[in-house]
């Protein structure tokens, strides 16, 4: 993925939806890539670090139950800008999942449906770059709702801390042996950096852990020679 590819896809989407009546939040989301420069330094960007909890790991049938996000600006986590909401999956939550994230049917009985929560999340996100750990997973659920609701996927740049980790910390793996895969898990990275992760396995707790890891990976990326937004998207961009 390159920044220009992302911009090209964005233009195609705009053309396709040009004559469609879209809600304001979707219209706004279409223009989030405007003015982004590939030469801007990675450390100065605005990021929104997000994590979702779901009813399970099967993306064909599982649903989102919780969204947590922090904003990171200039490398600083803004403790006052937090997104933290339960979403009603419209179905039961398997016991196995409750064991992981601790969210019970009682918690989400009064929660709004995912599309409403995502609508607010779009407002929170604005033009910032989305960061998630193993981003494809979170993006799958997010985009499914986006497509159903607006007929398009999320237009923001999305970068993955797993990819950043592989690029910056793990030696090159030309034969695809994936030796480094486990070393980039959230727990492995937290251990590597000596982070005590508060409330692990809640959306917001994992978002915080990812944000703390992002804080450390950004200078590591710069150290490894990927200093610009263009570099970041090339190395760790997922869509």
């Amino acid at each position: 993925m390159n920044l220009w590819q992302a911009k090209l896809l964005n233009r195609a989407t705009r053309l396709r939806l040009a004559h469609r009546r879209l809600p304001d939040e979707a219209r706004a989301n279409l223009s989030v890539l405007d003015g982004l420069s590939g030469r801007a330094p990675v450390s100065a960007q605005r990021y929104v670090v997000v994590d979702l909890e779901t009813t399970g790991l099967d993306h064909t049938k599982d649903r989102v139950v919780s969204v947590g996000a922090f904003r990171v600006v200039g490398g600083h986590i803004r403790l006052g800008e937090v997104f933290n909401e339960f979403a009603n999956p419209g179905r039961g939550i398997p016991v196995e999942s409750i064991k992981v994230h601790g969210i019970t049917p009682d918690n989400i009985r009064d929660a709004r449906p995912a599309w409403e929560v995502f609508r607010d999340f779009l407002g929170f996100l604005g033009r910032d770059i989305v960061v998630a750990h193993f981003a494809r997973f979170d993006m799958f659920f997010l985009n499914r709702v986006m497509r159903a609701q607006y007929g398009m996927r999320l237009q923001n740049l999305v970068v993955d801390t797993v990819l950043m980790c592989r690029a910056a910390l793990i030696e090159p793996d030309p034969y695809g042996q994936k030796k480094g895969a486990k070393r980039c898990s959230l727990d492995a990275l937290a251990a590597r950096y000596g982070l005590e992760v508060p409330e692990r396995h809640t959306a917001l707790g994992d978002a915080m852990a990812t944000a703390l890891i992002l804080q450390r990976l950004l200078p590591e990326m710069e150290h490894a020679g990927w200093k610009t937004l263009g570099d970041l998207v090339r190395v760790a961009g997922v869509q």
Binding site: G75, I77, P198, L212
Partner: protein, 641 residues
């Protein structure tokens, strides 16, 4: 947002002084204003000489070094701050160029509270106000780490400037208040005459309303009047230096110094509401910076009147403060202090003797010694602590006893008055009566000691224990040496003395849990405070005393006693090291408290409010308590009957 969703972050801040005093809702509001920042180790967060800090930093994880760049290019380590400590407050609140460089020593995770909300907190919240105003106790862990590394540099010349930078003295304490001023229209000649009459090198030129306009110095008279051929009747306004900078009387001495250096001037006008209230010169500042321990000690010998002598302890305070900031070890500081107290006492003995001779009371009728007891005897005296002492005079025939005793009682009474005017507390009537009791002949003292060793019961021994820390401060006879020999022989013959002495001591264990609960000592006014001396120092002192007497050791200093019994194999090396650390740490805390109190003018003795300690200090205090507890178990096993 009604509730901050990550309880652990809020919990953490709730454990940080002074955020721990905040109401839940207020804390939530403040957390929402914060950023959480990461600085890789080695990154400079605040650079000395650059813009003031724009945030208050609260360390969540990792540590920072606070250093002062020196002209030589090296850096002098001032402080290391860790988890739960804050930095950036000083330059932020002063709004001036940062004085110190702050560097991440390890990878650092820190909360950042921006300028504006932080100022608002300091303005509106009294606890924040108190905490972030200049506080000595906060730097105590730095002091410990820096150890005596820097004290050796005290005599070096390049630290002279540093003294001032670090000394907490304010401009109004150092400025001269006896001002020589004149109006701008005063003729130069008249100004020069005033200066000559008052024997000063400068005169301030002020408006009728008191606003300073400039200064006329000796140099101005030479350069701008005489050398320039200006007639001596021109108004001073035409020849004075107008580059007069003003400073507030509340500013710190080091700010005055920086201000002078910045503008290349030697005087600053001290103004309050635009009115001149004093002048501070670079000379006034050198007076502070020159307050090295050696300097003050030399001074003691030169003093010829009681009034001058009484002024010295205040200077000694300043020396101790500087030592504390520069990282003096407890041992070194206690040595300096007790050496100073000894010299002061000896000087006072001379002055008192002279005064009595002048009064026609004659010289001392027989040879005598002045003994220090208790903490003074152990060379562990804190500042301004009451002194326990005894006067021993040579044996005289019974018919002369009364006249001799009368002379020494008078002498002791005058000594106590002298000591109390030097800041040693306690001129109460009880102490005065004591003056009569503490003067005794060698035979009488010996008899008392023998009675204590041979058969005194624990309650009587509790009162007498301090006598077994005796040390001659001023000796004309070898009484103390002989006495020790006799005491040891008597103990040999009465081994049960050690058991009785043990029983006489307080056997309460230091409250390890105290630091969590914040209240144990039920002494009304000090409910939330902790008596350091009683709970942490006294048990060590008692234990060291018993073991030293047991092993025929003449040392009186607690650390020396512990060192000696360890060499004899009574204590394990590891335990001795821990005890040394614990004792030194608590002693430093105590010295810092005393200094702070003498600043604030209150006297809370050894009481300590744990809320004023940071996490590191609390942790160390807790560990210290644990070590003391172990020592108590050991002595209980060995000496309890």
């Amino acid at each position: 947002m009604s509730d901050f969703p990550l309880p652990r972050i809020k919990d953490f801040l709730q454990s940080v002084v002074p955020f721990d005093t905040m109401e839940e809702a207020e804390l939530q509001r403040v957390v929402g204003l914060m950023d959480l920042a990461y600085f890789p180790h080695g990154e400079v967060i605040i650079q000395a000489g650059e813009d003031p800090s724009k945030n208050l930093y609260v360390i969540m994880n990792g540590s920072v070094r606070v250093t002062l760049p020196r002209q030589t290019g090296e850096e002098l380590l001032i402080d290391v701050r860790g988890e739960g400590d804050t930095f950036g407050a000083l330059s932020l609140l002063q709004g001036e160029l940062a004085l110190f460089t702050v560097t991440a020593q390890e990878d650092l995770l820190a909360f950042m509270l921006p300028d504006e909300p932080f100022r608002a907190l300091v303005r509106d919240n009294p606890v924040f106000k108190r905490h972030f105003s200049f506080s000595l106790a906060r730097n105590i862990d730095a002091v410990r780490r820096a150890a005596d590394h820097h004290t050796t540099q005290m005599t070096g010349t390049d630290t002279l400037g540093l003294d001032a930078v670090l000394t907490g003295s304010r401009v109004h304490e150092l400025m001269s208040k006896q001002l020589l001023t004149c109006l701008p229209v005063t003729p130069v000649k008249a100004a020069a005459i005033l200066m000559t009459q008052r024997k000063v090198g400068s005169i301030m030129v002020c408006e009728a309303g008191g606003r300073p306009l400039g200064i006329l110095t000796d140099t101005d008279l030479r350069v701008r009047v005489l050398a320039a051929g200006v007639p001596s009747d021109v108004p001073v306004a035409e020849v004075m230096s107008r580059s007069m900078k003003a400073i507030s009387p509340q500013a710190f001495a080091f700010e005055a110094m920086i201000e002078m250096a910045r503008h290349g001037v030697h005087h600053l006008a001290v103004t309050e509401d635009q009115r001149l209230v004093g002048v501070i010169s670079d000379h006034d500042l050198t007076m502070v910076t020159g307050s090295s321990p050696v300097g003050v000690m030399k001074e003691v010998a030169k003093v010829s009147s009681l009034e001058d002598l009484a002024g010295l302890p205040r200077r000694m305070n300043r020396v101790m403060e500087t030592l504390l900031r520069l990282g003096g070890s407890a041992e070194y500081m206690l040595d300096v202090l007790s050496e100073f107290n000894d010299r002061l006492t000896v000087r006072l003995i001379r002055l008192t003797q002279t005064a009595m001779e002048h009064k026609g009371l004659g010289p001392a009728p027989v040879q005598f010694s002045w003994l220090a007891l208790g903490s003074a005897g152990r060379r562990e005296q804190a500042l301004h602590q009451g002194q326990d002492y005894a006067v021993v005079y040579a044996n005289v025939p019974p018919d002369r006893e009364e006249t001799v005793h009368t002379w020494f009682s008078e002498f002791a009474t005058r000594m106590i008055e002298g000591l109390s005017s030097c800041g040693f507390t306690g001129t109460s009537e009880a102490v005065m009566n004591d003056a009569l009791l503490c003067c005794r002949s060698e035979a009488a003292w010996e008899e008392s000691f023998m009675a204590w060793v041979e058969g005194a019961h624990p309650p009587a021994l509790a009162m007498a224990a301090k006598y077994f820390d005796l040390r001659a401060v001023y000796a004309e006879t070898g009484f103390v040496e002989t006495l020790w020999g006799k005491i040891f022989n008597a103990i040999e013959a009465n081994r049960d003395f050690l058991g009785r002495l043990y029983q006489a001591g307080p056997q309460t264990r230091p409250p390890v849990g105290f630091l969590r609960q914040f209240a144990v000592d039920f002494d009304g006014a000090y409910l939330d405070r902790l008596n350091l001396e009683e709970v942490a120092l006294q048990p060590v002192v008692e234990a060291a005393r018993i073991m030293a007497l047991d092993q025929r050791l003449r040392q009186t200093n607690t650390l020396e006693r512990l060192g000696a019994v360890t060499r004899l194999g009574l204590l394990k090396d590891r335990m001795a090291e821990d005890l040394y650390e614990a004792f030194s740490f608590v002693t430093l805390l105590r010295i810092a408290r005393r200094l702070e109190e003498s600043h604030n003018g209150k006297d809370e003795g050894a009481y300590l409010d744990p809320a004023e300690l940071n996490r590191v200090q609390r942790k160390m205090l807790k560990e210290s308590f644990q070590v003391v507890g172990k020592l108590q178990e050991f002595t209980a096993q060995r000496y309890a009957q």
